[in-house]
């Protein structure tokens, strides 16, 4: 299977998306899943990622933009590994 590409998205691609990246990497490392996790601002998300993780503020816009082609996860609690793990599980990643 090709390596998984995950995009974490926020307004500028350097603040909350980085927090999402750290949270996701933590969970993925624990599950020994190898993935590229990168940060993007909401305007420059490439179309070739396998999964998008974002916060409430950008969720609706991204969902609309990628229109079912790429799954979009919405994380509410940035200090909860459990929420991230649960949502990654629902998306079939872990």
């Amino acid at each position: 299977m090709a390596r998984l590409n995950i995009g974490c998205v926020c307004g500028c691609g350097m603040g909350s998306s980085l927090l999402l990246k750290m949270l996701a990497t933590n969970v993925l490392d624990e599950q020994k899943i190898n993935a590229n996790v990168d940060c993007y601002d909401s305007g420059t998300v490439p179309g070739d990622v396998n999964l998008i993780i974002t916060s409430t503020a950008f969720y609706d816009g991204l969902k609309e933009q990628f229109n079912g082609k790429i799954p979009v996860l919405c994380i509410k609690n940035f200090s909860s590994k459990e929420e991230m793990a649960q949502k990654l599980q629902e998306a079939g990643i872990i």
Partner: protein
Amino acid sequence: MEILQIVGNIIVSQILTKTEIVMSLISLVGLVLLKKPVEKIVSGVIKTYIGVTIFTLGLNSVQAAVGVFTNMFANLITGGQGLENAIRVPVNFSAAETGAMAGYMLLIGYVVNILIARFTKIKMIYLTGHWSFFMAQFIAACVMNYLGLTGAAPIIIGGIILGIYQAVFPYILQPYTAKLTGGLPMALGHGASFFALIASVIAPKIGNPEKNMEDIEVPDRLSFLKEIVVTLSLTMMGMYLILALFNGQAYMETISGGQNWILFALFQGLLFSGSYMVLLYGIRSFLAEITPAFQGISTRLVSGAIPAFDGPVFFQYGNTSLIIGFITSTIFSALGMVVLMQMNLPVPIMMVNVENFFGGGITAIYANKFGGRRAAIICAALYGFLTTIVRALYFPMIVPELEWAQIACDADQAVVVTLIGYVGKLLGLAKYAW
């Protein structure tokens, strides 16, 4: 011995004073402490170096666009005496020099932050790397250029101030943040935190939390404003256009290089936005290496730490407040600009509409929580106006970082840098009158 001296000189003057190197060293230290494999260390260090390089390229490009703005601004307030009258305080250092010093401060700031969290009851770990970096840059510019201090001592003092800032500002806001999040273990680590505090304190007195802003639906179509590149481009085109119209065709044609003067102004606004996006890309690249290292180390050393997160993490507590707060603070920030234009300041100040989104939004979200929609609008208006005019106090102190300061200043920078500047002035250290 002479060889050693030459090598030593090269290391000190050409390697350890280069921002790219300093930041790479920070990520090297972090990655080694986290016992990462060699290939991760190599790629992390290189990505950090290149990230800072991209950042610098973006900044140079922003400077070009800011230069045009400065010309227009100067022409307007000096009645045609030109650029040399736009900055009328001494610029003794370059942004490269203050930037390297800021890198060391960042490192010391991280250490101090961890020590405070480890040994006091202030358990905050500041995870918003870009705000730490901005703060370090402005502290460095203030101590070097305004107070004329260089060498180890100011780096250490500046680093300690930065570390205290990172631990204490999220901490004093935490009672309110906890109410906002319903008690989640997370704090706000963002340049607007001081204003969020002001808003939380005054909101109950000027409004009613029952009348919640979030009960109002904003039209879905307004959500395009959340895309920073769109908002920024629109505002900057507006800014350049207004200044161009005030300056008039005759003057504009002297700087537009043959281009139609209106188009020239609009293109400059777009150039600014494009350059800003390059900057962001650079910052993103080096923070992606440094912040996880800091987080990894701090979670090993501090039990029960509360991470201080960037503002957008809290946008989920007020989507409507965010948009209304942004629009309100933009309008009042523009009013603040009008006031600044009358003040004949020794430095040009421009309105870059980024923090009105993040800071104005956060202010409105906190104010709405504790005082409803009326408080949200009043506090966002105060935010826009005050964080704009307060720049008159401290921008003349940080001239080496002036271009950058136009973009990345918020309430906390105003408080901390102004305090440092004025304390230094009271101690008789000020190098020039301000």
